[in-house]
């Protein structure tokens, strides 16, 4: 008995000794992000940081469907599990007003982040409230919605001839929403198991909203005035109605059962040879060029979101910025990491690894723009992006958007005008509830 007690004590003290010594050597920063390729690239970048400084970087991930819930569950509990979070742009309001993010305004000004990063990315990934000059994040993964298409279908001389005969102009990459709709209609042939277009329709979170935004913004419409919270007459303007009607028209040319589609399904539309064109975030395009995941990789091309009838051209913003969690025990270390992260050479490496940098110099470089078939479209898009509301109650606004818009787009119930009028009413009531308007 005595023997075993001594050995247990010895064991415990040994473990403690090792534990403390390991702890002293290994400083570690944990970054939380969703489970996708860019997180792996960030881990690789983190490994470089560890080589330089000895501080270990661990990128922890969770599936997209779970990302928001898990991050906010941790924030709400004031947990210190994560030192940094690469959070969605819509979270800025909730996370800053909730005190979950460290205020990075001084950091941003001191390190000239505003000059280094593309303007729109700082505006949407970092600033809250809009136009306030207060910053909560550093743009990390730039992303927006673009389009992939089947080059072989577009370049087929017979198709070109038939298209010209029917529509009176050359079949080419669409420059406007009208052309996009014509081409979708042209390639929509259910009896050949070929369909015109794949668009976002999922209403569980922000899928449908991202899709509709592409039409809405390019039609010159807005979701509302982000400074005054006025929505009536803006989100249900004539332009918005026309944009939504166009989106509904596009839905008619989607493959059968396209009622729950987001980024996974829209990439499948290309890999399975179902659709001629498919909307998706740029972040999901690398797998379309990979022949092991896309049998049509050689025949896949890319283009930026087309312009509306008045020449406006915008796209819905995806992507994330990196923020320091207020409850982290390593805020100092986290700041040091951010300092390293925004350096031009780090951003260059980030882009080389596959990350979508927001660094102006890198984006504008020839090397970046020619690195992949979609980088040029990405570069063009990142300077004309717009985003959803970033207020703390954004999820309620999304829910109301889904409740009003989905039945019209997918099930053809009611009219676009009715749906948007009702949405304006819902949003107004929500802003009143939170005291943003009188």
């Amino acid at each position: 008995m005595r023997m075993s007690l001594t050995s247990i004590l010895a064991g415990i003290s040994l473990a403690l000794a090792c534990g403390t010594s390991v702890h002293a050597q290994d400083k570690q920063l944990t970054i939380f992000w969703a489970e996708w390729d860019p997180s792996n690239y960030l881990q690789e970048l983190g490994n470089l940081y560890e080589k330089e400084t000895g501080v270990k970087i661990v990128v922890e991930t969770t599936p997209w469907a779970d990302f928001q819930t898990k991050a906010f569950a941790e924030f709400n509990a004031h947990g210190n599990a994560y030192d940094l979070v690469v959070g969605d742009s819509q979270w800025l309001g909730a996370a800053s007003e909730g005190g979950h993010y460290v205020d990075l305004t001084d950091f941003v000004k001191e390190h000239n982040v505003l000059d280094k990063m593309a303007e729109a990315t700082v505006k949407y990934y970092a600033e809250y409230p809009g136009g306030s000059g207060k910053y909560w994040a550093i743009p990390t993964e730039g992303d927006a919605v673009g389009w992939s298409y089947r080059k072989d279908w577009f370049e087929d001389p017979k198709e070109k001839e038939a298209f010209k005969a029917k529509y009176g102009y050359e079949l080419d990459v669409p420059k406007t929403f009208k052309e996009l709709t014509d081409i979708a209609e042209f390639f929509h042939r259910p009896d050949e198991n070929r369909y015109g277009i794949a668009i976002y329709t999922q209403n569980q979170y922000d899928g449908l909203a991202m899709g509709v935004e592409n039409a809405l913004f390019s039609y010159g419409a807005e979701l509302g005035d982000y400074a005054t919270y006025k929505v009536d007459g803006i989100v249900n303007s004539d332009k918005a109605v026309a944009a939504l009607e166009n989106y509904r028209k596009l839905y008619e040319f989607t493959p059968p059962g396209w009622t729950n589609a987001f980024f996974v399904e829209n990439n499948q539309a290309i890999t399975e040879g179902l659709a001629a064109m498919s909307m998706n975030y740029f972040a999901f395009f690398p797998s379309l060029l990979n022949e092991s995941t896309n049998p049509n990789a050689k025949n896949t091309g890319f283009f930026a979101n087309p312009a509306g009838p008045d020449g406006d051209q915008f796209a819905a913003l995806g992507g994330q910025g990196i923020s320091i969690v207020s409850y982290s025990d390593n805020k100092e270390e986290a700041m040091k990491f951010l300092e390293w992260f925004i350096r031009d050479d780090t951003q260059q490496k980030w882009a080389e690894l596959g990350g979508y940098t927001c660094n102006k110099a890198v984006l504008e470089s020839e090397a970046f723009q020619n690195a992949t078939p979609y980088n040029k479209a990405f570069y063009e898009t990142m300077f004309k992006v717009k985003d959803f509301w970033a207020v703390p109650e954004y999820a309620e606004l999304l829910q109301q958007f889904n409740q009003r818009i989905y039945p019209f787009v997918v099930n053809g119930q009611g009219t676009a005008k009715e749906a948007l009028d009702a949405l304006a009413g819902d949003w107004e009531a929500t802003f009143k509830k939170y005291g943003r308007v009188q």
Partner: protein, 301 residues
Amino acid sequence: MATAVMTTLDPKSRAASRGMSDLAIRNLFIIPTILFLIVFNIFPLAYSLGYSFTDFRASTNAPANFVGLQNYRDLLNDPYIWNNFAVTAKYVIISVVGQVVVGFGTAMLLNRDIPFKGLITTLLLLPMMLSMAVVGLFWKLLYDPSWGVINWALGLGKFEWLGDPRMALYAVAITDIWMWAPFVMLLSLAGLSAVPKHLYEAAAIDRAGPFYTFFRITLPLVAPILMIAIIFRTMEAFKTFDLAYVLSTQPSTEVIAIRLYKMAFQEWQTGRSCALAYIVLIMVLAITNIYVKYLNKVKER
């Protein structure tokens, strides 16, 4: 009688030899359980009742304000919430009736001497051993209009099981029936094999027809155990989340648990979602009570 059991501790047992009294042992077993229940069940239940009268949001640092019955009033005036309840009720009825018919029918078929009866029963039980989310993902592929095996097997062309708002709820219910009918079958089988054979013999001697035998002998004797299966399945169907969430996003399949999840963990309207959870709890309690009353009546017969 219970105390009689509690107070007799075998004087030769190890516990007695260590000098522990009966009371100490009883406390040792019961107190941790009760503490666990209080900490993880009763306390949160009471706490969330308090939240349901506030505008508390877990995602912000703003203090919770008391709003009285505002949350309940808003919820009960929200046509979308009523729609969620209507969808849930429809789903419960379709799914439970389907499970009872399929499950009880299969049990009747299996309740005779057939070769490989044990093996067949085991194989039929497989669906309910799978995870709900996995079943949902599989059936999503099976239902797919472009490459799904169901349309191919039934020759339905491009029929949109999940895309058609009128069909989607049935499609989800069919999956649920596939998964949980074996549960009803298992309980029914236990009930059926307990029916005394001499009753059937007596019925045969009296030349009773098969329908008469079924409705006057089989069903009344299996009814109590079938009622238990129905209670379980109704409560489960009322709380359905995974299957419907994974399979479909049609508003016509948004059952109340999905709306509750979105309200609580996407919108972080903690106070309001607590109120909704209480409304659901009261409904489930009420329905279960009716069933239990009926079950007792059936047992008395």
